[in-house]
């Protein structure tokens, strides 16, 4: 089976391509990238006016299955990813039961194979039941398909446990994705601590609740030589620490999410539970710092921290509502705004959403070199659309961007050469 994508504008950061190019896929792999391909193909796609890029990879999602299927299932989550142009997701381990065993990894992968849309690379828990006390069997988890380890949702409070985990994980080449939160400083807070929290009378989470733990984790990464990746960085102080650490040779990497570069704690006004997530939305200074860190490379990856919650859970008193927002279907257009704002180039956006997460996960994806697995995303960068509840694939609708006008829409997606999103329509629906 040969597929020829013609007349598109190809962005492939790894191969430094940022120009009009044709792309030929054969038997699930990239066969050829060239200015003009005239070869006969079984299927030809005209991508004129569109951008062709490596399939996006979201290193940080919550798919809620097993245990919380009323919020999201692997199937609805993968459909949402597909609509967002994401060809691979890493679901976190805070399911019920916690994904801390080999069979949990196998279950998730099995379910994703049944759904048969985009890739699912599961993240195993670092500690049993994410209790921060005993390590999980990293070797078994890896055999089951774990691509990384994380207790995301919970910080690993015990420094010695994290030290051992970083060290032991080296044997298996597994990165540890760190949710940085000093529990004592967090102190039951439910939004950023500042003027808005004072006004609303909501218990605040100081920006230092994140940065204090970032500082510790950098030192533990240096101590052990283990691979540490920082999840969802929100605060300027954390970013200063990570920048400094990288300059001094630390091997740490970091991610942020679109809400941290588009929204501030003002979004919480009127007790908007769709603006409640952890870490919380911070100030304009923090938003500026996140953008600066994206630009100078301190932040390597844009992820979503897609965290679905049922409407009934969010429709409640602010302090009772769970933390988290969905993001799979809006992350690309929200990131493309950074191109318009001249924070990032188109290549840098694609790099932070495909190549860089692949590098953190140490998988051979995120590029369109000859012979690479043909995970490909095509989007129309000019197409405008509005985020509407009814049109979201995700089972939950807890987006802070409902009603926002987006620019940039994914039209086609191939996973290993399978055309699973065709002109905006999911293959199984055709």
């Amino acid at each position: 089976m040969k597929i020829l994508i013609k007349n598109g504008y190809l962005v492939d950061p790894k191969n430094k391509l940022d120009e009009p190019m044709d792309l030929l896929i054969e038997d699930g792999r990239v066969k050829k990238v060239s200015k003009k391909i005239t070869e006969k193909a079984d299927q030809e796609i005209d991508a004129k006016g569109k951008i062709v890029c490596p399939g996006l990879i979201d290193i940080h999602v919550h798919l809620r299955q097993p245990g919380y299927e009323y919020k999201e299932t692997i199937e609805t989550g993968l459909r949402a990813a597909l609509k967002g142009g994401i060809t691979g997701v890493c679901p976190m381990a805070n399911t019920n039961p916690v994904a801390d065993s080999r069979s949990d990894m196998e279950f998730m992968i099995g379910e994703s194979k049944r759904v048969n849309l985009v890739n699912l690379w599961p993240v195993g828990a670092v500690t049993l039941r994410q209790e921060g006390k005993e390590l999980t069997e990293f070797g078994e988890l890896k055999k089951g398909g774990a691509i990384a380890l994380s207790d995301d949702g919970q910080p690993i409070t015990d420094s010695n446990i994290l030290r051992r985990a970083l060290s032991y994980a080296k044997k298996f080449g597994l990165p540890i994705l760190a949710h940085c939160q000093d529990e004592a400083l967090f102190c039951g807070g439910c939004m950023h601590e500042g003027f808005v929290s004072t006004k609303l009378g909501l218990p605040g989470i100081p920006v230092e609740a994140e940065s204090v733990e970032v500082a510790r984790d950098i030192q533990l990464a240096d101590l052990t030589g283990g691979q540490l990746h920082f999840c969802h960085i929100s605060g300027r102080k954390s970013l200063d620490l990570i920048r400094q650490a990288k300059a001094q040779g630390s091997k740490v990497t970091a991610e942020t999410c679109p809400h941290y570069f588009h929204l501030t704690d003002e979004s919480v006004l009127h007790y908007n539970t769709n603006a409640k997530m952890n870490p919380p939305l911070r100030t304009v200074e923090d938003v500026a710092a996140v953008k600066k860190a994206l630009k100078d490379g301190t932040i390597d990856v844009i992820a979503t921290d897609h965290a679905p919650h049922a409407e009934s859970e969010k429709d409640t008193e602010f302090d009772q509502a769970p933390f988290g927002v969905i993001g799979l279907e809006t992350s690309l257009p929200l990131s493309l705004r950074l191109v318009e704002e001249k924070v990032l180039t188109m290549t840098q956006v694609i790099e932070k959403m495909s190549l860089n997460p692949a590098c953190v996960l140490k998988i051979d994806r995120g590029h369109l070199s000859e012979g690479a697995v043909a995970d490909v995303t095509i989007f129309d960068p000019h197409k405008e659309w509005v985020v509407e509840k009814d049109k979201l694939q995700s089972k939950s609708k807890n987006s802070p961007f409902l009603g926002w006008k987006m620019k940039g829409q994914v039209t086609d997606v191939w996973v290993a050469g399978r055309h699973i999103l065709n002109n905006g329509v999911i293959a199984s629906e055709r």
Binding site: F195, L200, G201, L202, Y271, D315, E317, F318, Q320
Partner: protein, 341 residues
């Protein structure tokens, strides 16, 4: 007897004891340049304009007289139903609303429930919708979650009066404090008011700050640095850690209740030290102006934030606050319940 101030015509009709409430009582004076009350809810003092606050104070002045009558009842809210929905223990606020509603001839029913609605297993909206289904006009709610009143007001048609939501606001307390200050000091503009105590966890402090600053008072807050919330000065107040400094030249000291359990959160080491550093003692009163008035939202921890001698002393207006609370709540119930919806 206090001279009756110029009365709002709407209220004038309402305070006539014998008169049946007719349609004239609900006609608002839209063309005399006066502000018209349009809210079904009272959620905060932050949301009110200076004029709206003054309207309530003015109505309260008229209503205050009713409580001095032999027959303490007018038919202003006859046929209306008010529900007290209290998710936190409270005696004085609940009772004050109950008395206020009864003096206006409203029917009032009490619902109380310990803990948050979720701990009860029923959502707050469900609880409130059930009450609303009994055709209640106005719900007076106290709830431990900040923002719960605004949340509820969005979810139901009935009016919502916030009787304290978490550590956010307690607007009727703010209004009765301001009412008392104005009654005693004749004006709010330029008045120097110092709030002393746990500002961080105080809904009373937030409502006082919003209301007083809107009316032109100069507000100070004073407490241990651990109990001063972030960026509070952006609300237009001055921050003091030293109470002896803070009380100087002040016209009003509004002393907040210290929650004894705050000690556990390491906000201060002991009640003993709190009393020594921040308690308003007879000694400390000597540093204040001679005509300073002492306020407290109650209940008082005697000998902790306020010495018994000061609480019961000549400068204390604490019981006047309680009396005025009824008048202010009558005014709030009247305006919110009678609004067209």
């Amino acid at each position: 007897m206090r001279e009756n101030p110029k009365r709002h015509p709407e209220v004038a009709a309402a305070t006539e004891g014998s008169q049946e409430r007719d349609s004239s009582a609900t006609v608002s004076p839209q063309n005399d340049g006066k502000v018209r009350w349009i809210r079904k809810d009272l959620l905060s003092l932050e949301e009110l304009s200076k004029e709206e606050i003054e309207l309530i104070l003015k109505t309260a002045e008229s209503f205050k007289e009713i409580s001095t009558r032999d027959v303490k009842k007018v038919p202003a809210l006859r046929g209306k139903t008010v529900a007290n929905l209290f998710f936190e223990p409270s005696t004085r606020t609940r009772t004050s609303f109950e008395v206020a509603a009864k003096r206006l001839s409203a029917d009032i029913i009490n619902f109380s429930s310990a803990g948050s609605s979720t701990s009860k297993g029923e959502s707050l909206t469900d609880t409130a919708k059930n009450i609303e289904a009994m055709n209640v006009d106005t719900i007076v709610m106290r709830h431990p979650s900040s923002g719960s009143a605004e949340y509820l007001a969005r979810s139901i048609r009935a009016g919502v009066i916030n009787a304290g939501d978490g550590i956010h606001e307690h607007p009727t307390q703010g209004l009765l404090d301001i009412f008392t200050m104005r009654e005693r000091k004749k004006k709010i503009e330029g008045l120097k008011v110092c709030l002393v105590g746990d500002i961080l966890h105080s809904r009373v402090a937030r409502s006082n700050i919003w209301g007083l600053t809107k009316l032109g008072a100069k507000v100070r807050v004073c407490g241990p640095p651990t109990l001063i919330p972030a960026k509070i000065e952006e609300l237009g107040v001055e921050v003091f850690y030293d109470v002896d400094e803070a009380v100087k030249d002040q016209d009003v000291l509004n002393i907040l209740r210290i929650q004894l359990e705050r000690q556990k959160g390491a906000f201060f080491p002991s009640i003993r030290e709190y009393a020594a550093e921040y308690g308003i003692s007879v000694e400390r009163m000597k540093k204040a102006k001679k005509d300073v008035i002492i306020m407290h939202p109650g209940p008082i921890n005697r000998g902790v934030e306020l010495a018994a001698e000061v609480a019961d002393g000549a400068q204390s207006v604490i019981l006047e606050q309680v009396t005025n609370g009824v008048a202010v709540r009558m005014a709030v119930l009247f305006h919110t319940t009678m609004v067209e919806r």
